[in-house]
């Protein structure tokens, strides 16, 4: 068949190629000739058409090439675009410190869930899973897989490797669910400030709880006023003090006196917010804001200030401290009794309880109470934390309460309240509500004492640092001024436990123009040989304050000053009239 076809083709061609030699009947030849011509003409025309169509198609491809390559089509993204972090929508916004260091963020993690109805062999699945997920027990998994529900969580946070291993088991009925997990890269460092969230990303404590809505809705990171560097210093020094004095806990605060911003807030023991479920109640307790303590002699700062500000007394006014002051069945005694009349300055630096009580007596209950209310000591702090303690004060404010409160007994406030109050005393007299959130605008404060009263308090605190109970807090060149505070803890029966102290020290620096208040308190410290068995604020808390200031001042760019220079002497000199000599900073 094929051969015949080929043969006939060859014949046809040879006839055409040599038409002259071809001799068949004439009309046949003519017919053949015409057919051939017509066929080849049609063919040529249609080759042209085909060629034109092909040419057109190539032209279209060429034009499209130019279009795709040289003209940017906005609907088609050009190469890969880097997605900036701020445009990634997270369930919760990041939290950063005042310098932008990340302290809380959200990461995508994978959780493992199961549909128990689809698990074929519960025991096998449980033992296989337990083999690759050591933190789960086979019995526990089997119990969950035996439940009647169609959905159980088996694990909330798998590592990528664990996910791969679970996947490799090939157990039907398991499912991976991507979710956001809160991560705190600084670990324990900011535990009480940040708080933590539940596994479903609901804020349960700290800033996470108080500013839950803000964090959920914001696309921008939340900027705190806290500085992680200072937080490190504070935590390290507190830890060292806790270890040295065998304390059960400690807290430390650094506040910017000129706007109430908290640069550091540490409470020990603390916890890792990444694993808050394992934290004990004690470690979750925020001693800086939730704990309320009788803060002892540090309260004499306020007693002195209100007396000077109301004109009840002057620095040179004399009060009788010759013997313990009896009020009803109480006797108010001095820790370092001088047994003589003391000026207001001396009452402060010798920390005389008798003198303070006498000043308060002169001042009167109403004025004292009004002043303490202005300092915010009668209501819980407005700081951005849910863990704020309710201050304790007498329901009925008797004269005896007025007198004990003057030296810090009978009124309990949280350390953050105390620090805010001290800031107002040294910054020129303006009270700022404490805050953990950095704001771009200036904060508004409320004037509660005059500039000159504040000036007097600065001098007294500085003098106390040189002459009085706070010598150990000195940090050369930084003009530290402060006040110790030691209070006995109230025992279960409502009586003071003599040996269990809250020892604190509150300091400000540089005293000629204070910038920061640094506060440290130790809970139940025990004296050591080095402190001759003393566990009072001047012995255990003041050295920690000194350490913190020595490290933070260079970091914050505060230059050391010469305490002997005429300007400093002039600014901080104070007259102790009964001795007829001027005490200055030496």
């Amino acid at each position: 068949m094929m051969r015949r076809l080929l043969q006939s083709m060859e014949n046809a061609r040879s006839r055409r190629q040599e038409p002259v030699e071809f001799r068949t009947p004439a009309e046949h030849a003519l017919h053949e000739e015409g057919l051939f011509k017509q066929a080849i003409e049609t063919g040529r025309t249609r080759v042209l058409i085909t060629g034109a169509v092909m040419a057109l198609a190539f032209a279209v491809v060429g034009i499209r090439l130019i279009d795709v390559t040289a003209f940017n089509n906005p609907s088609e993204p050009r190469v890969t675009h880097a997605v900036s972090a701020s445009t990634v929508k997270k369930e919760r916004a990041d939290i950063v410190d005042r310098n932008g260091t990340l302290v809380a963020t959200a990461l995508k993690t994978v959780g493992l869930s199961a549909d128990p109805k689809k698990i074929m062999d519960i025991q096998e699945a449980a033992s296989k899973l337990a083999a690759v997920l050591p933190d789960l027990s086979a019995a526990d998994i089997a119990r969950k897989l035996s439940s009647d529900s169609r959905f159980v969580w088996l694990h909330r946070k798998l590592t990528p490797y664990q996910q791969w291993e679970v996947n490799r088991l090939g157990i039907p009925g398991l499912d991976f669910r991507t979710q956001e997990t809160r991560v705190y890269p600084q670990g324990n460092l900011m535990s009480h400030v940040l708080g933590f969230t539940s596994i479903d990303n609901n804020g349960l404590a700290g800033i996470e709880k108080k500013l839950d809505q803000t964090l959920r809705s914001s696309t921008q990171p939340l900027k705190l006023s806290v500085d992680v560097r200072l937080q490190h210093i504070m935590r390290q020094e507190l830890q060292a003090a806790v270890t040295e004095f065998d304390a059960i806990g400690a807290t430390g605060i650094i506040m910017d006196v000129n706007n109430g911003e908290i640069l550091s807030m540490v409470s020990l023991p603390d916890f890792d917010p990444n694993d808050a479920g394992k934290a004990t109640d004690d470690s979750r307790f925020n001693r800086a804001t939730l704990g309320v303590y009788e803060l002892g002699s540090t309260f004499k700062i306020f007693n002195t200030a209100v007396a000077l500000d109301t004109g009840t007394a002057k620095l040179s006014s004399q009060f009788d401290a010759t013997k313990p002051l009896r009020v009803g069945r109480f006797a108010i005694r001095d820790y370092h009794a001088k047994n003589r009349w003391l000026s207001v300055s001396e009452i402060f630096i010798y920390s005389s309880n008798i003198g303070s009580a006498r000043i308060a007596n002169e001042l009167g209950t109403a004025s004292q109470r009004e002043f303490l209310a202005k300092l915010g000591f009668l209501t819980p702090s407005s700081i951005e934390l849910p863990e704020v303690g309710q201050p304790l004060y007498p329901k009925v404010w008797r004269p005896v309460n007025t007198m004990t409160i003057s030296y810090g007994h009978g009124l309990a406030v949280s350390p953050i309240q105390l620090v805010s109050g001290v800031s107002a005393m040294v910054n020129g007299g303006t009270f700022y509500q404490p805050t953990l959130v950095r704001s771009d605008t200036d904060r508004n404060g409320e004037r509660i004492i005059s500039e000159s009263t504040s000036n007097a308090i600065r001098k007294l605190m500085r003098l106390n640092n040189i002459e009085g109970s706070g010598k150990a807090s000195n940090a050369k060149g930084y003009l530290v001024g402060g006040k110790t505070g030691t209070a006995e803890k109230v025992g279960a029966r409502g009586t003071y436990r003599k040996k269990d102290l809250i020892s604190s020290y509150v300091a400000a620096f540089p005293m000629n123009a204070p910038r920061y208040v640094v506060y440290v308190n130790l809970d139940e410290p025990r004296g050591t040989k080095k402190t001759f068995g003393y566990a009072t604020g001047g012995w255990v808390a003041a050295p920690a304050v000194s350490q913190v200031i020595k490290q933070m001042a260079p970091m914050l760019g505060i230059p050391p000053q010469d305490p002997e220079s005429p300007e400093i002497r002039q600014a901080l000199a104070i007259k102790l009239p009964n001795q007829g000599k001027t005490l200055a900073s030496f």
Partner: protein
């Protein structure tokens, strides 16, 4: 240039003066570009499948030599032997297509490949050039008044091959085959009424392909509505072209190519676009257009209807394959698994194309002394 005297009457000497050296040069150039582009496009693909980075380059480079040898050897044949070769090839192809359906490996839902003596080949690639030549034989014989039912035979052959291809299924090859048959029929004097009827039938055929073959449906859906499915390769190809711009990023500097799974095969033009830019791509398009249009021009004045029909069939196959590939890479038409002639990596396709172009070169040789 090689110095061959005009009066050299040896086989090679005649060949040298008769063959279309421009087309030959264009194809050798394309093959050279192909090896070069495989060098840039394939290492990332090879690494992804865990092979030696230069595996594809070596394979392509070692295949290109036999391919060119086959092409030149075939172009040495005279018309009678070309027809014999085509008929023989077609017979083998039909057998292989049947064998593929019976024993072939199913890859991604289609049975297109068969392993012969350890070499995997795709018989449908060989079917196209063989069919172009054989159908031209039938058409021209019938047209010139031979006493054979040429149109019926060409039509029957077409239907047999079409059925075998659709059973695989391989809609793309079936489309090219239909185009060859239709063009030859058209050139052989198909009345315009029938042209229109066939055009309507082919449109209906495409529409029914949409409903019969799920993979065709999904590809067309994704082309018409990019949001409806995964268009990953086409989107990456677009980015590659845009990243390349007019001058390209430079050899080896492309980045989008690394995320193109078929960068060495069907999407090689995108790699060329990214690294060598628009001008180079236009050069490639130009070479394909040159080969096709020059082929048409060369047979336009020939008096042998078989030459005209066979050359046109082969050119349509070659040109259409290039056009379909480039148009799908450029997102002009739905993606169609078709290689870019001589540029894409791929063994069967390269050998089949070499055979086809060898036949074309043989057919378009100027034969002043006769048509043998």
């Amino acid at each position: 240039m090689i110095n061959i005297a005009r009066n050299d009457t040896s086989i090679l000497g005649r060949w040298w003066w008769e063959v279309d050296r421009w087309t030959l040069m264009a194809i050798v150039t394309l093959a050279g570009f192909g090896v070069m582009l495989t060098l840039f496009a394939s290492p990332s693909v090879a690494e992804r499948i865990g092979a030696d980075p230069l595996l594809f380059v070596r394979k392509q480079a070692t295949l290109i030599v036999p391919a060119l040898v086959i092409m030149v050897s075939v172009s040495l044949l005279n018309l009678r032997n070309i027809r014999r070769l085509a008929i023989g090839l077609l017979g083998i192809t039909v057998l292989l297509l049947l064998a593929t359906l019976a024993f072939g490996a199913e890859i991604k839902g289609a049975t297109r490949w068969i392993s012969v003596g350890g070499v995997t080949i795709q018989p449908s690639e060989l079917a196209k050039p063989a069919f172009a030549v054989v159908a031209a034989t039938f058409f021209s014989a019938s047209r010139l008044g031979e006493d054979i039912p040429g149109y019926t035979m060409a039509g029957g052959l077409y239907m047999v091959l079409l059925t075998l291809l659709l059973l695989q299924p391989d809609v793309g090859q079936a489309f090219v085959l239909s185009a060859i048959w239709f063009t030859q029929f058209f050139l052989a004097g198909l009345p315009m009424v029938l042209v229109i009827v066939l055009a309507i039938i082919s449109v209906l055929g495409l529409i029914s392909a949409y409903f019969v073959f799920p993979h065709v449906q999904s590809r067309i859906d994704r082309f018409l509505d990019p949001a409806s499915g995964d268009n990953y390769q086409v989107e990456q190809a677009m980015e590659a072209f845009q990243n390349g711009g007019i001058m390209g990023t430079g050899p080896g500097e492309g980045v989008v190519k690394n995320s193109l799974p078929d960068g060495h095969a069907d999407f090689i033009l995108a790699v060329a676009g990214e690294e060598f830019g628009l001008l180079f791509c236009l050069l490639i398009v130009g070479i394909y257009a040159f080969v096709v249009l020059r082929g048409f021009a060369r047979v336009l004045n020939r008096n042998d209807l078989f030459v005209v029909l066979a050359a046109t069939g082969l050119l349509v196959q070659f040109g259409l394959q290039a056009l379909v590939n480039m148009a799908s890479t450029l997102n002009l038409i739905p993606t169609k698994g078709m290689t870019l002639p001589f540029l894409s990596y791929g063994g069967s396709s390269l050998i089949a194309l070499a055979l086809g172009m060898g036949m074309l070169l043989a057919i378009t040789r100027t034969r002043p002394g006769g048509q043998r």
